[in-house]
């Protein structure tokens, strides 16, 4: 099994979720995060003082998938979340040693 961590732009969340649902990804866990990278925040003015917000709001998806779905999932995320503008985010893939469904105690791919 693989565990995918994807950081995307917040407004792409619904689209990505639907696309993943389309290829059979059953679930995911979503977190609001702040991203820091090449994309620079706007220079803002607050009460006459300039400041730049280089922490930008992003959304992080965590998705456990069976090995054979992993490649397709990454591709789907990449294509759906891309706006071809800087700051679109990253996808990281990890090996997942084990997975358990709390409700039933099932483990392995059936737990996903």
């Amino acid at each position: 099994m693989k565990f995918i961590i994807a950081v995307i732009k917040p407004f792409k969340l619904d689209e990505v979720r639907e696309a993943l649902g389309g290829i059979g990804v059953a679930g995911m866990t979503v977190t609001e995060v702040k991203g820091f990278g090449r994309q620079k925040g706007q220079t803002e003015i607050y009460r006459g003082a300039e400041y730049s917000t280089n922490m930008l709001p992003k959304v992080k998806l965590e998705i456990a998938v069976a090995d054979d779905l992993a490649g397709q999932a990454v591709e789907t995320i990449q294509q759906t979340a891309s706006t071809e503008a800087i700051g679109d985010g990253k996808i990281f893939v990890f090996d997942l040693a084990s997975a358990t469904r709390i409700r039933t105690g099932e483990t392995g791919e059936t737990a996903l």
Binding site: E44, Y46, P57
Partner: protein, 442 residues
């Protein structure tokens, strides 16, 4: 019912302390009830001042209601729009608005008199009118601001600051004053017998029509109505602020309706103000209860935001005539008002008219209802005059508002870029996040 100086003329200071100023009363009062002219002048003025500050406070009510019902990414802009529109209304109503609203004609359509409006000098009293003209002006000005507040709620979250403020400038300097001149300014509607005590039509429907045109021409918020017919729900960011806003408005309405009696220098007038307080309060109570019961029965849950809208719709409905109904009738009028948002909010959504705070059902529809209901309790008012007033207001305000909105769209543009709208207007338009420290789900 006129609201111009003429309206008060009979109350002007008589030449005698013990003169009888209360012509409205049937029987001549005993000498014991007489109120001296100077004293009546002070009472009348005081009524305008108290009413005025209460209605001014409604600006805060709209600000909080709207800040609570928009998404957090647009809250700072909404706050700015609300304080800005009040300021613009104040300036415009002085520069030109009041002069159009009270042109001194009888039965006319449009006029302008002495602008910008001059107040009295220091220490001078306007004994010819029976109250301080500055107090009257102040009371009239805050009504003008109310009209603009109505618009900002409907078109929230998607119209840029500058075109919005330009629209407000024209609304408060021209559109609203013209409508006022037709009735309170002794124009043609007044001549027909049209009656709108505190402005269900003049204020609330006027704001409502302008808002409706805005909603149609600006279009709905991005992503609100999907092509497949599905509708996205954008819940308001803070229900307690929306609740606070509603309570503020309710409080302010005692000034709005009560001081629209325009006089409290006689025992009869102050008694009528009291009756108006009661009726205003009870109509709002009924609106709340009806909205709660309706949503509870229809959806199995009582919708807090509908209860708030219900209170306001009840208030708008009673505004056209808060004096002649007995308490039972006030409850009925307000209760029917309270049902209107529950019924019309979903219908507007079906029509893809995106009204962020429900201002169209609350101010426009309940305003029409209240205006048409006047003859039920005030038999002197011809129903046809009410219909005419509602229609004429609708036609004039809609056409002029639409022209302005279109002109703005064609020139400086009404909406921010999609990306800016998606990111929230706060970032692009004011640069100030409303709640910068709280983690938000997007």
């Amino acid at each position: 019912m006129k609201r111009s100086l003429h309206r008060i003329a009979p109350l002007a200071l008589a030449g005698l302390v013990l003169a009888e100023p209360a012509l409205a009363q049937e029987a001549a009062p005993a000498a014991a009830e007489a109120v001296g002219g100077g004293t009546a002048y002070i009472f009348n003025t005081l009524l305008f001042l108290i009413g005025g500050f209460l209605v001014m406070w409604m600006a805060a009510g709209f600000a909080m209601l709207e800040a609570g019902l928009v998404r957090s990414k647009n809250v700072s802009v909404q706050c700015l729009k609300n304080i800005g529109l009040y300021a613009i209304a104040g300036l415009m109503f002085w520069v030109i608005g009041y002069s159009i609203a009270y042109p001194g004609f009888e039965g006319g359509y449009f006029g302008i008199a002495n602008f910008p409006y001059a107040m009295q000098g220091v220490g001078e009293a306007d004994t010819g009118t029976g109250y301080s003209v500055a107090s009257d002006w102040f009371f009239q000005m805050v009504f003008c601001a109310t009209t603009a507040s109505i618009v900002s709620g409907t078109v929230a979250e998607r119209v840029k600051l500058v075109p919005f403020f330009v629209f407000v400038t024209i609304l408060t300097g021209f559109i609203y004053p013209v409508i006022v001149s037709w009735e309170w300014g002794a124009g043609w509607l007044d001549a027909m017998g049209f009656s709108d005590f505190a402005g269900s039509t003049l204020v609330h429907s006027t704001g409502g029509w302008a808002a409706l045109m805005g909603a149609l021409i600006i279009g709905p918020r991005l992503g609100r109505y999907a092509k497949d017919g599905k509708m996205a729900v954008f819940p308001g960011s803070s229900i307690p602020l929306a609740t606070l806003g509603t309570f503020i408005l309710w409080l302010g309405w005692f000034g709005f309706n009560g001081a629209s009696q325009l006089a409290m220098g006689t025992v009869g007038d102050v008694s009528d103000v009291s009756k108006i307080f009661v009726n205003t309060n009870m109509a709002a109570c009924a609106g709340v209860v009806v909205a709660i019961i309706f949503t509870q029965l229809r959806y199995g849950k009582a919708d807090t935001t509908m209860a708030l809208n219900g209170a306001l719709a009840g208030l708008v409905a009673i505004t056209a005539e808060p004096l002649t109904p007995n308490v039972g009738m006030a409850i009925i009028i307000g209760g029917i008002g309270g049902a209107l948002p529950v019924i019309f909010v979903p219908i507007l959504d079906k029509l893809k008219i995106d009204d962020v705070v429900g201002a169209i059902p609350v101010h426009l529809m309940a305003g029409i209802w209240g205006t048409l209901a006047v003859p039920l309790t005030n038999t002197e008012v011809p129903f046809v005059a009410q219909i005419t007033g509602v229609a004429a207001t609708g036609i004039f305000v809609s056409i002029v508002s639409a022209l302005v909105w279109f002109a703005l769209k064609a020139t400086i543009g009404l909406r921010p870029s999609e990306a800016e709208e998606m990111a929230g207007l706060d970032l692009g338009e004011t640069g100030i996040e409303a709640y910068p420290e709280f983690t938000r789900t997007t």
